[in-house]
Amino acid sequence: MIWIIKNLWLIPALPLFAAGIIAVNKQPARKLAATLAIGSLALGFLLSLCAFFATLGHHGDGVFREVFSFPWIQFGGQWMDIGWVLDPLTAIMLVMVTFVGMLIFIFSVGYMAHDDNFMRFFCFLALFAAGMLGVVIANNLFLFFVSWEIVGLTSYLLIGFWYHKPSAAAAAKKAFITTRIGDLGLLLGMVWLYAETGTLNFYDGGKGCLESGALATMLTHATIGGMAVSTAIGLLIFLGAVGKSGQVPLHVWLPDAMEGPTPVSALIHAATMVAAGVFLVARVYPLMSIGGIIGAHGVPVTTSLTVITWVGAITAIFAASIAVAQNDIKRILAYSTVSQLGYMMMGLGVGGVAVGMFHLITHAFFKALLFLGSGSVIHGCHEEQDVRKMGGLKKYMPVTFAVYAIGMLALAGFPLFFSGFWSKDEILHSAHNWPVSHIPFLLGCTGALFTAFYMTRQVALVFFGSYRGNEEITTHDHSAHGHSHSSDSHNHDPHESPAVMTVPLMVLAGFAILLGFVGTPAWPWFGGYLTGEEFKFDFSRLTEPGTLGLMLASAAIVFTGLGLGWCLYGKRQRKTVAEKDVLETAQPFIYKLLENKYYVDEIYEATVIRFNAFAAWLCDFADQWIFGGAVLLVKYITIGLAWLYRLTDEYFVNLGFDTGCEALREGGGGLSKLHTGRVQTYLRVIGVALVALIIFLIWGRKA
């Protein structure tokens, strides 16, 4: 199966070609577009499976890793390589991205069926898939960065897909700019890394920047504040991750990104792209973890990892608490996404690659499931997104309800049977064992409580009770975004979505349940697979005190959250849309605070944006007066010189030329006198010549 390593590039290349073909194709060719995109991704999925099986069965003998690099461009004296790496991390991500992506493509065939820009949508989707897969397989920070930017671009394009909605356009810009801030950090880190190690290849047979030699050198060098260079670079790169996966304080773009079509939210802003940040940290984990003191359970502790842990933990609790008070179905999910990403970061920080990645994979499945489910709900409710206008959908769309419930339980971490439980539990477990402090653990537990609570609230509001969509709206709704009042949408009952949408949902649901069992403490296949350590099936591992206690604790937390949510929202349904939320009646101040997301946007508005505006004004001023004056000066000087040149040109150079040309023309005219177009003149000349010839011959003979 080594051929797969050579041909790994095919996996991103296929969607890229698909995107290109769709882009240049004659509009509209919906069937072609969908076929190309899905087919390319399906092929990619098969190849990814090959890659996956290629990486299997290497436990014990270290981690399986194959790289393939070749020189790409030369600058300075040396060649910049690009290439790709195949290791368990890549393989599992490949499988996840291609599979989920394929399902979401299929789903969006149904979801976007009525959109005019169907082809554009699929073109962007395919391009996004290409970029994401590029990110995944990259063995080189440069290639990684390029793909990373492609991903950012497509995310921008797709969030602003309905650019006629001003909110969508604004959201797109916001997302783009916010992530740029992070990417700036990433770029800086990249450049610094190149300056330090002279290579950007991750793994290059000992010469890569993630391999012992380079790491050692980076560790020895120290920079400001005695911080090791590796730490600094790691933090910079982590900044990029923060931007991409919406960690505090750069999380603000992610909820607004929900303006995009729901499949986009599912694919990009739940499953894959936001996970790219986590994946980045996991990829450069050696850089992060180098030089750390090995704490308990063999998890290193370094400055960068500590930062990552804290950021993750804060994000988790922060976003989860906001999600409690949201009313837009997609925003709730968005904030839960943010908090889950926080969990992943925390997991990476406290538990290493395996923990974080495990949650990433499981989360990808059930969050995609949830988003697609919400998409199906929105589709069924005629583009209605406000949970208060829904309700009682259980009887209208049973399939959606079933799969949505599964997703919700998985997210909430319902014990034993759902993947979310295992992954989150592992995170909490390793957080509990974290030597530095216990606060992240506590934050995580609270976050879990909130998670269970708001998911219950959402499901209760959406699926239970009676349908409130048909009644007139008396109050203006609170959520600023996400309302498309289609005039005909209020006097229909919701309907179940077509099979093309529900079937992917079921598949995802199946995975949302099953995927948990590959990483139970009893059988930590996933960790073993990723880290290449030996592992064995040992049921007793479940029952050893630390693990069991934690499991029980988290189970208790989850049940508390579920129960709380149910008795607050499930038992007594709200009657009307306008009715105040229960929490609002209880704690109006906190609710307001939460509903407005801790006024983060407003704070930014007051500080960053204002500063930015001032800076812009300053730049404008400088441009207009200082640089502009300089430019004007140069301009006048140039004009003067030009005038001088013209004088010389006309009165010295041209005169000479003119006389020369004149002489030439005269000569030509004189010669052309001979060429009157009269054949007979020529004939005469010929006759004279004949006579001359005869004379010459005769005299020559005489002489």
Partner: protein, 172 residues
Amino acid sequence: MSPFFIITGIVTLLGAAFAMSLRNLVHCALAMAVAFSGIAALYLQLDAQFVGFAEILVYVGAIAILIVFAILLTRSGEAPEKSVLTSGWMAGIAVSAMVFTMLGWAVLNSSAIPKETPPAPVATVKNVGDALMTKFVLPLEIIGLVLTAAMIGAVIIALKEESKNENPGRKS
């Protein structure tokens, strides 16, 4: 130097002179035909039967007719009112006179002229055919090619877009 020879020579030269000097183009063409017949007669007297007949066939039978057709097609059958001579005709006459004097002088006192006349050669059609088919077969083929090309070219040149009223290629 039989009298016939002198007569035919004079006829030829007169024909040529008229052909070049008459005002009316058709008369010129007819005079040219006369001149060609005279040349053919000269050929016969030089024991070149075949060439003589070919001369008549080609020049009188074909080219004269062709020229006549051309004259009628260019509507120049009548004598023009204005002068028929080019601006510098004096110079032309002078040059041609010089040419003739030069050639005549060269002919009359050139030392390369054989004094005695050899016996009449045998130029039967069979000999000519043998020569054409053996020694000169390549030039013959090339001439055929050239004639074909000329015919096609003439047709193409003279072919008006839609009408096929004439194409001189026929007679070449």
